[in-house]
């Protein structure tokens, strides 16, 4: 995944002003509060490529159907708060219908199809996603609020890459697990979050289908549109009906889905609180379960790190996707001797971050996904201030409507503060200092989470030592927020269990029997 902006070229949706820098001029030669003396020309991506329907039904058994009680909910554009479409609100009866459709397809068509044929369907889907990539990217940005350059350059290409990667496994299962015969589990119930709607769909559906399972997937209620557009892709690919079913609705419907007695496998990405409820909801049912939950990653910068690269990595780590990333580098651990210099560079860099219209091609930080999420971020930032941390925000103007939040940097943060302990899921970075590698390790691991970690140093042996000592499923050294379908992703401790991507991601959808 690319860094947000590696150069400081002009261009942003809103005028920015120079941050307070203790009276000293910053690297632009400007003093505190002075406006950056250039205008940002708008560079809007066209919406024309996407047609958003007024209403969307559920995608069950290959058909677009209304919910059994006819109820709907509205999905909005978080950057304008304007309604986008009415979405069917699935009922428990709809969940049952969808699971039946999936079961039928698994036992009658998909499960009997040779792997090489399943592979070709998945290759088709990968190709179709590439062909319609701009349409998906624009729709994703409209519905989720994420900047178009991220949906265009990260979310959609990675989603296509996931289908491509797992397509090739479908007819090679015999070679993947020595001494074992790999069999599909059956019907997979998948519940995904709103931060990477299409990408999470791909992470869930691609390995499930490659392994011979069928799926019922529930996208988040604030971001259903790309999943429903994906239903059209399934139609174009001539995927047999019932292989992929998409149901929309609130969290209760997700719970009804995962606890359905005819589901064999449950995969969930979202908060630790909901993951815990799901694990408890299916306790004793013997279903296979993978959970990809919250995080509070440490991004650790040593005094010998290449500082300018580290600054880009820190910015990418926490402001990518508005910080609405489970593996975000939300705790900056910086070695004391370079803390002042690094923070100064970071503040300087923050003054160039462009916050605003998600569809503007120069936007770095788009809209927060929902009012509820914005409220949560606001509350936690207020708690940070109240507990005594020092707040810094660049003086950028925010659009007059929609859910926006300034890139936020906290210094003087104690480990006990809520902003150092709780997952904020927003563009908020908490800075903590350390003196020795041992102290960095202690502080980095001092969290119930264990999804990811970042290490910045020029010393190879130190990188490898730190990698070994981090209780985290993904460790980025001298980089951050990189993803790839071949690369297993998932957490330690309360960040969940199981991995997505690579061979472990495939195995999560298989039963291995003795040969």
């Amino acid at each position: 995944m690319t860094a947000m902006a590696t150069e400081t070229k002009p261009g942003a949706a809103v005028p920015a002003t120079v941050p307070k820098n203790g009276g000293a001029p910053n690297s632009w030669g400007l003093g505190d509060g002075q406006a950056i003396p250039w205008e940002y020309a708008p560079a809007p991506e066209s919406r024309e490529i996407v047609t958003i329907r007024e209403r969307y039904g559920l995608f069950v058994g290959g058909k677009d159907v209304a919910s059994s009680d006819g109820l709907t909910f509205t999905t909005i554009d978080p950057s304008t708060e304007e309604p986008l479409a009415e979405i069917a609100r699935a009922t428990e009866a709809d969940v049952d219908t969808a699971v039946r459709a999936a079961r039928q397809a698994q036992s009658k068509s998909w499960g009997k199809l040779p792997g090489r044929e399943r592979a070709k369907y998945l290759f088709r889907i990968a190709r179709l996603l590439q062909e319609r990539s701009r349409e998906f990217a624009v729709l994703e940005s409209i519905d989720s609020g994420k900047p178009i350059k991220e949906s265009r350059d990260v979310d959609v290409p990675l989603a296509a890459a996931h289908f491509w990667y797992y397509a090739g496994w479908a007819d090679k299962l015999d070679y993947a697990f020595p001494g074992r015969v790999a069999k599909p589990l059956g019907v997979a119930a998948q519940v995904i979050p709103w931060n990477f709607p299409l990408l999470m769909l791909a992470w869930k559906i691609a390995p499930a289908l490659a392994a011979g399972n069928t799926v019922v997937l529930k996208p988040a209620s604030t971001t259903p549109l790309t999943a429903l557009l994906f239903a059209d892709l399934c139609r174009q690919a001539d995927l047999p009906p019932g292989v992929v079913n998409i149901i929309t609705g609130p969290g209760e419907i997700g719970m009804a889905l995962v606890t359905h007695p005819d589901v064999d496998k449950v995969a969930f990405t979202g908060s630790t609180a909901v993951g815990r409820k799901i694990a408890q909801g299916i306790a004793g049912q013997g279903k296979a379960l993978t959970l990809e939950l919250g995080g509070k990653a440490a991004n650790i910068v040593f005094d010998d790190a290449p500082l300018d690269q580290a600054v880009e990595g820190i910015v990418n780590g926490i402001y990518f996707n508005q910080g609405e990333v489970c593996c975000a580098g939300s705790r900056l651990l910086v070695q004391e001797s370079i803390a002042d210099l690094l923070i100064a560079k970071l503040k300087d860099r923050l003054s160039t971050i462009r916050v605003g219209d998600p569809l503007d091609k120069n936007t770095d930080v788009g809209a927060i996904n929902s009012r509820a999420q914005l409220d949560k971020i606001t509350e936690l930032v207020a708690a940070g201030v109240a507990e005594g941390a020092e707040l810094y925000q660049p003086a950028c103007e925010l659009p007059g409507r929609g859910f926006f939040f300034r890139p936020t940097l906290f210094t003087n943060v104690a480990q006990s503060y809520r902003i150092a302990r709780e997952e904020i899921f927003g563009p908020v970075l908490s800075t903590i200092t350390f003196r020795t590698p041992e102290e960095a390790i202690e502080k980095a691991n001092n969290t119930p989470y264990g999804l990811s970690a970042g290490i910045w140093t020029d010393k190879g042996s130190r990188i490898l030592m730190m990698v070994k000592r981090m209780k985290a499923g993904v460790v980025w050294a001298n980089t951050f927020n990189k993803f790839d379908p071949t690369s297993p992703f998932g957490g330690y401790k309360e960040s969940g269990y199981g991995r997505e991507g690579g061979l472990p991601g495939l195995q999560a959808y298989l039963r291995l029997e003795d040969r």
Binding site: A161, T479, D484
Partner: protein, 302 residues
Amino acid sequence: MPSVRIGGTDRIDVRKTYKLYIGGAFPRSESGRTYLVTNPKGEELANASRASRKDLRDAVRAARKAFEPWAARTAMNRGQVLYRVAELMEGRRDQFVAEVAAAEGLSSRRAGTLVDHAIDRWVWYAGWADKIAQVLGSSNPVAAPYFNSTIPEPTGVVGLVAPESSSLLGLVSRLAPILVSGNAVVVLASESRPLPSVTLGEVLATSDVPGGVINLLTGLKKELVPVLAAHVDVDAVDTWGVAADQQVAVEVSAAESIKRIARRPKGISDGAFDWTDDRAAQRPEWIAAFLEMKTVWHPIGA
């Protein structure tokens, strides 16, 4: 209360006190409690320690302390440590045969078969220590200029509710795969057949397994299993020996801290499982169940 005797004489034998094994030491239960252990015919065998919740918490603390150093051992070294357990069990073979025969109500011949398998199982898993990363790890060909690899690591502290019927072979078959990757373990031994596990503890104490890496508790499952499942410093639980009517409660409790749960597969009963079937009862998947995959990225460049 006839004690287990190797060869009969008229001599008054010195009987053994069956104690717990925590942090490399053999304490009695801090609660002072014991419970009566009988053979399947109901004849008295011994009083076993009835571990308390406090004993369990002490065991978890000992395991947590022992975990990092054990995980940091080289793979080859862990392999040798497991192999050493087999060496020592071989030397005590007659004692184990007598104890398993008494505990499970078996002939010496049948008990001998079980003990032999238990010894061989340590050897099988010992050899896995330096192969796990090569079989389960990976080098990942990402579509960008990055070094990318995935390494299996031990999960941490594992709570093992040992098989109820197979007092020694079942225990060893579930214990060795947890241990070999570098996890530390708190074992709740078979409640009805705990005595061979205590003797295993005596073997472990004189082996090269560091104190605290394996902790063995005897006692009542209904008392101890809920505490083990709820303990937030336990990273994973093996519920093989959990009674069917306790399984849901255990999983609900374990989910509170997102514990990894290894279950007895559906349709397999504790009593009927054939632990001498090597294909079924020694599996790399049982090692994998207590691993975390760690993926590392680094840019490639000049």
